[in-house]
């Protein structure tokens, strides 16, 4: 049950409408918690019903149609509670590793191309992250909340680094393997 808390965090960082949230979930927040706009609208409805957020009515005099939401004290309290609560790590699910294991049984034919594609995607993501790091975390900024956000970004950077290295290594191994068929 993380989506409502992801939304609360995003709204605390900046009150937003559903669409603005959707856009932000495609960037920053979505890097480690993705969501579609339908999930977001549904969840906004629930959070409002529960009294955790409310629509900012003012701004435009009732015409500008984008409903923007802000977090109420109850919502902030719930987020703090959730953040502090102990949670067990969920077991991983990685289809690519699964495919590799299957390939050990049915053959590696066709897999190499997709490994290359994934490598390229991870390289691109890594480059994005590094650009964000340069932009948002120049040496010397160290307010506590910046340090924590930087830590999160580092996790992203190091994970992408790991995957590019692992995929590179995997492709080297593939190159040495005898060809094995599709059957």
């Amino acid at each position: 049950m993380s989506l409502p808390h992801a939304i609360l965090t995003a709204l605390l960082e900046k009150p937003s409408s559903g669409l603005e949230l959707t856009r932000r979930f495609d960037r920053s927040i979505g890097y480690f918690w993705s969501a579609t706009h339908q999930q977001i609208y549904r969840e906004l409805g629930k959070l409002e019903a529960e009294g955790h957020i409310r629509a900012l009515p003012s701004e435009q005099p009732a015409r500008g149609q984008k409903k923007s939401y802000e977090v109420l004290p109850a919502g902030r309290a719930e987020l703090a509670r959730w953040t502090a609560a102990s949670q067990d790590p969920k077991p991983h699910r990685d289809p690519l590793l699964l495919r590799l294991r299957a390939a050990a049984v049915v053959g590696t034919a066709g897999l190499e191309a997709d490994l290359n594609r994934h490598l390229e995607l991870h390289r691109r993501q890594l480059a994005d992250y590094e650009k964000i790091e340069q932009r948002d975390f120049p040496p010397g900024k160290d307010a506590p909340h910046d340090r924590i956000r930087h830590l999160v970004l580092r996790a992203g950077i190091d994970l992408e680094t790991f995957w590019t290295q692992w995929l590179t290594h995997a492709l080297e191994e593939f190159a040495e393997l005898p060809e094995s068929g599709t059957t």
Copy 2:
């Protein structure tokens, strides 16, 4: 849609009953594709209906009640197809990183203990993997399917290594942070 293919892979490695599969999903396969026994039984039913697997009737003369399944040629073909098919990487979902980001807004109170707990869990998982590596992949074994399985295990080892390092670093940063409240 990876579960059926995870099951096909497991059954190709060794024909098994539902319960045996469940046990194996708690170990090896489940390290990167977990599943509950209910998922497995349901999926076995579907796979049988589709003609991808069949129950081994023989063995015990109709008495030994554990239904064991084996993969049929159609199932193997489907697995090979799926393995070779291109798949987009799904976006990550990591509640711990999300909580950290929330903590940057609502305060880090209470989070440190859980980071320590996760660190301990990842260390234990890492130790498990390393034991498996020593047992199953002593230097010198390099049949192709062994090399591929070793590659998969290396991904697990390196990922756990990454998390223990990152969590250690995060905890160091926390130690330097001024205390921040629950509000």
